[in-house]
């Protein structure tokens, strides 16, 4: 490792280790492949960080081919805190676990999911696009710097004057993908629970509509094991004088159906309204 010039200096990444995949595949173990990204504040993400590097794609392909040849499974664990491109490699592996931002207990949480101790029920807070350019803000990022302006070198809190136009308007995340019917890469179902659920008996109570909209729904565990399911409530408003997305998330509730009798549960969700 190169020596740091000062304590907080960010050092360049360490080169990838050379893997003897053929020898590893000959062992009895299945393979867990970790794909990570730095996450935090203070800087915008680069396009290159969203699209896996050729070396990462090659590693996934190499590992998957050799382990599948030995009839072994390959699972990719995404140790990320934001979107990355998955469409080009997700069909090469047997499973994907999104660790997201688990903090210091993240490793234990992933181990619990892998060993079956916990039945995963998390939902994505964002949409994974098939292509980077499917994201509407990709037209305007990175920001355009003003030509002819000097970078302000004298002050610590300065940069090159620049501007960005938020051209995507209200169509952010799922609002864009749903309204304009753009296909996304990783559906929420990919991280679905190991059991299955049935959702029915939806009823919307509009009697107290000057205050709230009350929605009831029944969730039934139709699988063989216990689990949790997050039910989401979307509302489509009538078209008016302003643009509106096709649907908007207005509420959610978690159904916890535990063994020995998973059974059924009624969920209630309220949407505050203003007349």
């Amino acid at each position: 490792m190169p020596k740091k010039k000062f304590f907080f200096e960010l050092l360049p990444p360490i080169n990838e280790m050379v893997l003897d995949v053929i020898a590893l595949a000959a062992n009895k173990m299945n393979w867990l492949l970790f794909l990570g990204r730095l996450r935090g504040d203070f800087r915008d993400r680069k396009k290159e960080g969203i699209i896996p590097a050729p070396a990462e794609k090659d590693m996934i392909k190499l590992v998957a081919e050799n382990f599948h040849r030995q009839n072994k499974k390959v699972v990719v664990i995404l140790n990320i805190g934001n979107v990355i491109e998955t469409a080009s490699w997700s069909n090469q592996v047997d499973g994907i676990i999104l660790a997201w931002q688990g903090g210091q207990e993240g490793g234990n949480a992933v181990a619990d999911v892998i060993t079956g101790k916990v039945n995963p029920s998390g939902k994505l807070p964002t949409t994974f696009p098939i292509d980077y350019h499917d994201i509407p803000s990709s037209k305007n990022f990175p920001v355009e710097t003003f030509r002819g302006r000097r970078k302000l070198e004298w002050v610590g809190l300065s940069g090159t004057p620049s501007e960005v136009i938020y051209e995507e308007d209200i169509y952010i995340g799922y609002r864009f993908f749903d309204t304009f019917k753009v296909k996304d890469s990783l559906s929420f179902r990919l991280w679905a629970s190991s059991t299955s659920f049935q959702i029915d008996q939806l009823s919307a109570d509009t009697k107290q509509l000057n205050d709230k909209l009350l929605v009831r729904v029944r969730v039934t565990d139709t699988g063989k094991s216990s689990g949790k399911e997050v039910v989401q409530l979307y509302l489509t408003a009538p078209k008016g004088s302003i643009n509106k997305p096709a649907q908007e998330l207005k509420g959610f509730a978690r159904a916890h159906l535990s063994e020995p009798k998973p059974g059924k549960v009624m969920l209630e969700m309220t949407v505050p309204v203003k007349t």
Partner: protein
């Protein structure tokens, strides 16, 4: 797009959707109201119609000099502050550093000197 003005007395139809994701809707229900309940207005500041012009005053050596007024030269405090400033300028890369990276380096140096 426009079918009726918001807040009109024309009946409007809402659709409630229940599912496990926005692209995995399991059940839907509709209800009709005498008027629209969700009143939304777009404030003029949210809809820019002209290009935004940004003017940033350049803070140069003059400002820096002004901030030195209270410091007597050749004192220990003066030497430490100048040392931080020189170190900061030497490790700054104007071509590659973003705004946050510049700030990060500066705060890192201040931290380092405080520890020392």
């Amino acid at each position: 797009m426009r079918t009726h003005p918001p807040g009109s007395l024309r009946p409007v139809e809402y659709e409630v959707k229940i599912g496990t994701a926005s692209d995995n809707i399991k059940q839907t229900d509709k209800f009709t109201l005498s008027k629209e309940i969700l009143v939304e207005k777009v404030h003029k500041v949210l809809g820019p119609v002209t290009k935004i012009s940004v003017t940033i005053k350049r803070i140069g050596p003059h400002t820096i000099k002004k901030s030195r007024i209270s410091l007597k030269k050749h004192t220990k405090t003066y030497t430490v502050i100048m040392e931080i400033w020189k170190k900061y300028l030497s490790c700054l890369n104007p071509q590659a550093d973003s705004l946050s990276a510049s700030f990060y380096k500066f705060t890192a140096l201040v931290d380092l000197f405080l520890v020392c």
